[in-house]
């Protein structure tokens, strides 16, 4: 307990930023504390951490945590975060995103960040709805579930966030839920330690919008649903498709080793700078530019 208080004291912004705007019982608080525990466990200096977000209930997170934080526009968290990481590669960069933020308006940034494999961690708080704007269905709202824009059930099909991340080339992909708070923290810790682009999806509860429209009586009912409808990846290996129907898996989906973007960039720069043929090439280009500039001088006609 005292350890938790210590974490809160160290990493939360006291004073006027707290309490949070989140509804009582919202899963986002659990995700925020899981992230803080992960950072505490790694022991990285808090001034060497940057937390970037877009817009949404999830997007509010950087307001409360005492790191270098950037609260940007809807869907663009990862693009801003990429800039932060490129300018200051020594920082631990974390992007906190909602499901809409990450996969609807910002979906393009998401797949390209995965493909690029730049060393940052994307935490996708998946509450299966646009929480902040009042419960419109999102790209992760399950087929048939209700939203304010789908009063008779969603006729579209949901993204599987982790499968999408794996397909797009992320080198660390994991999933947990706010019911499994400890596991969530440990997975975020692994993700931050991983060198490359990491995605951790955490299934969360938006009882205010999603729960209300989908017959969940309370936040607790939603947490119980997560408990009863998820299986660890290990357990899932021994289950057939019927048994897995309607359930989500938890754990690490992918952990692979692929050259990281900034590392590859530095290596290329190094290679070019030390390769005599490349250096000669660059010199030639510069000389031809100089010659052209010379020719274009007024006194040379």
């Amino acid at each position: 307990m005292s350890e938790a208080i210590e974490v809160a004291r160290t990493y939360l912004r006291p004073g006027k930023k707290l309490p949070t705007v989140w509804c009582g019982g919202c899963g986002l608080g659990i995700i925020m504390s899981a992230m803080l525990r992960a950072i505490a466990a790694i022991g990285v200096d808090k001034n060497k951490v940057a937390v970037v977000s877009g817009i949404g209930c999830t997007g509010r997170m950087p307001t409360y945590v005492d790191f270098n934080t950037l609260h940007t526009t809807h869907g663009r968290g990862l693009a801003f975060a990429t800039g932060v990481k490129l300018a200051r590669p020594e920082l631990t960069v974390i992007a906190a995103m909602g499901d809409g933020d990450a996969l609807a308006i910002g979906g393009n940034h998401f797949i390209h960040a995965c493909r690029r494999n730049i060393d940052m961690t994307a935490i996708v708080a998946n509450n299966q709805i646009y929480g902040m704007t009042g419960g419109q269905y999102s790209p992760t709202t399950p087929h048939g579930k209700r939203g304010t824009t789908a009063p008779y059930g969603n006729i579209e099909y949901a993204f599987d966030t982790t499968a999408l991340a794996v397909g797009a080339g992320a080198t660390f992909v994991a999933r947990s839920s706010v019911y499994h708070a400890r596991e969530a923290g440990l997975l975020i810790e692994k993700a931050i330690r991983h060198k490359g682009f990491s995605v951790v999806e955490i299934i969360s509860n938006c009882h205010t919008s999603y729960g209300r429209m989908n017959k969940f009586a309370s936040p607790v009912a939603m947490l119980e649903w997560m408990r009863d409808n998820s299986v660890s990846i290990k357990a899932a290996e021994h289950m057939d498709a019927d048994a897995l129907e309607g359930k989500f898996t938890r754990g690490v989906m992918v952990e692979s080793d692929k050259p990281e973007f900034i590392q590859s960039y530095d290596e290329m720069a190094e290679r070019v700078a030390t390769d005599p043929a490349a250096v000669a090439n660059v010199k030639k280009v510069i000389q031809s530019y100089d010659a052209m500039a010379d020719r274009l001088k007024p006194e040379n006609g």
Binding site: H74, I105, G107, T133, Q136, T148, P151
Partner: protein
């Protein structure tokens, strides 16, 4: 009804072929309401809930290019994100109608009203109608469709109304009957449509030094025809329901010595202040702009001709420019008319800062001095601002 409900009601009655939408505060309730109408079978519209505003405008353009009546609605950063396609919609001469619920642009993040969003779009080739209240938002939406589709115009129209101040407050709405609206808007036959297999066309192909310039000039022509069309439709609307509309409204302006120019919900508050001042013997008046694009400069200059001092209220900033967007237009309109009128620009209400009657009285009080002494050096003032520069 709230402004959002009223506009959703107008959209239900119009029953566009296609509506594309993405939620953003304070427009959200508008699209919810419309989505409910669709879900309940009250309107036969294809509603597409896309993944961003950029897609919302793109899909609306696609639908309109295929000959459909298409609408969408947005606010603030949503409008900013769709800007690329907003410009394209006008360039393709597609008569799309879009309610915009005015909200301050980020950053920092703010969800409340100012006009930075639509003013940022003032040169995209869209007609812009500003509304004073929910009734006007409703009426403007119904008229916008006719204006946009008028063969002499063929330009998209933005109907704007102030976020929260109008979108979320309820007032009594006088609506038209569904059948009346149906008659009013008639049917729409697109002049060119990519789905016309007898006469297939390409919309938007490469247009370089050869004809791009001429095509832009044609847009200018469409916009040039718009004032007459807006006026004519405003008159016809009056015949239909008793509420007629012009390009602007002159409120107790005829003999006014101190004139305030404004647009949006602040006009309602200003009217009350004008009435109070008139009771005290002050010759105060208001010019409320409805059509900011096209900007009826000659008529406005004439309407302001008797004023001795003008205070222009701007709910947005044009950074680095000599004053806010409305202020610059008013000054330009008066140029060369021979009237030497003192003009002061009051920037107010950014990010939803309240514009009270007292603030407007402060503006009028400032004008008395301007009437005596002419345009002062400090002619750009920040009404209701704390600290330096604020009045």
């Amino acid at each position: 009804m709230t402004g959002n409900d009223a506009t959703a009601e107008a959209m239900r009655q119009i029953a566009p072929d296609v509506v594309t939408c993405f939620p953003i505060t304070p427009q959200t309730e508008l699209m919810h309401k419309f989505a409910e109408h669709v879900a309940d079978g009250d309107v036969d519209t294809e509603l597409v809930l896309v993944e961003s505003e950029h897609s919302a405008m793109s899909a609306a353009v696609g639908a309109a290019a295929a000959g459909a009546r298409a609408m969408t609605a947005t606010a603030a950063n949503g409008l900013a994100l769709m800007w690329e396609i907003v410009y394209i919609a006008a360039s393709y001469r597609l008569p799309i109608v879009m309610p915009v619920v005015n909200r301050a642009l980020s950053g920092p993040i703010n969800i409340h009203c100012d006009h930075s969003d639509t003013m940022g779009c003032r040169d995209t080739g869209w007609i812009q109608l500003y509304s004073e209240n929910a009734q006007e938002a409703y009426d403007n939406t119904l008229q916008a469709l006719r204006i946009a589709e008028h063969p002499d115009v063929l330009l998209p129209v933005m109907v704007t109304f102030d976020g929260f101040i109008l979108s979320h407050t309820a007032e009594i709405l006088e609506g038209l009957e569904d059948a009346e609206v149906k008659d009013w808007i008639g049917t729409y036959e697109a002049k060119y449509s990519i789905l016309n297999t007898d006469d297939p066309v390409t919309i938007g192909p490469l247009d370089l030094q050869d004809y791009y310039f001429e095509h832009k000039r044609q847009q200018v022509e469409g916009m040039r025809h718009a004032p007459d069309v807006i006026r004519e439709i405003g008159r016809a609307y009056g015949e239909l329901c008793g509420r007629s509309y012009d390009l602007f409204e002159a409120y107790r302006l005829e003999d006014a010595e101190l004139a305030v120019v404004a647009l949006g919900s602040t006009c309602g508050t200003t009217k009350v202040v004008v009435d109070e001042l008139r009771e005290q013997g002050v010759k105060a008046g208001l010019l409320k702009i409805r059509s900011f694009r096209p900007f009826p400069e000659a008529e406005i200059a004439e309407a302001l001709g008797n004023a001795k001092a003008i205070g222009v209220l701007d709910r947005s900033i044009s950074f680095g420019a000599p004053g806010g967007p409305v202020h610059k237009e008013i000054k330009a309109a008066l140029y060369g008319t021979g009237h030497e009128i003192g003009i002061v620009n009051y920037i107010y209400g950014l990010g939803g800062r309240d514009m009270s009657m007292n603030d407007i009285k402060t503006a009028f009080a400032g004008l008395e001095k301007v009437a005596r002494e002419g345009t002062p050096d400090d002619n750009i003032r920040f009404l209701g601002l704390r600290g330096e520069g604020g009045v």
